[in-house]
Symmetry: C2
Subunit: 120 residues, 2 copies
DNA sequence: CAGAATCCTCTAAGATACTG
DNA sequence: CAGTATCTTAGAGGATTCTG
């Protein structure tokens, strides 16, 4: 394979080093609900809070709120609140989020394709 | 972007559904130490236990052991124990693990490249 | 509808010590 | 060297209630 050294080259400090800032972003992106939210939004159309709750099946309100806040502060997700009543809020990917999702989707497809094929 | 529907097509049951087996594999792969171990091994050469501990900086013995067991049972990582004393054990990626790593590396490179650019 | 606030539980994960 | 065993705790995460 020998894909790497590129990795080390790209990030001199080392993604492996304990206090590398990438660890934080990595944890956000790779978190259980973070992945699912990014994936759900990767389809292009903005989604509403309630739609996201249904898509990421099993997520609690608390975790969805937390996940969205985190991803928003990472500039991966954008929040658009229409000033109507009842409230109408939509979430979508930022350009950065779209870049990330472009990597996430094939990965997820691979994972989905291989899930259940081995003893878990 | 509109990358998806492919996702749904590929996995009819939906990767988003709560008890989809992909959730389990996803959690293993996306776990903090899982990613780092897979990444470390993606460089091609097998690594020894102690080398992995150094590479995945901050990992505890317990978590490394657990991570390796999990990844091995998912058929992503292989363990080769040479019957010598003192023990000499090497870990490497399986073919499946290499496929996965091929997706993980560009993702990680993106993450590394974007870490620290926004308020965290 | 889209959350915020609160409480509570459980387990992921770290620290430590021991061993084949 | 390459782990396992045990103990402990922070905090991730769930359930419920409340509100602009």
């Amino acid at each position: 394979m020998q894909v790497s050294n590129e990795l080390r080259d790209y990030f001199p400090d080392g993604v492996f080093s304990q206090h590398c800032p990438s660890r934080v972003l990595l944890d956000h992106v790779m978190s259980k609900w973070g992945v699912l939210v990014l994936l759900a939004l990767s389809e292009g159309e903005p989604l509403r809070w309630s739609e996201l709750r249904r898509r990421a099946e099993g997520v609690s309100e608390k975790m969805l709120a937390q996940t969205l806040r985190t991803l928003a502060s990472d500039d991966l997700v954008e929040r658009h609140a229409k000033p109507v009543v009842p409230p109408h809020v939509e979430y979508s990917l930022t350009p950065a989020g779209q870049e990330l999702a472009a990597h996430l989707v094939p990965l997820m497809r691979w994972v989905a394709g291989h899930a259940g094929e081995q003893r878990v």
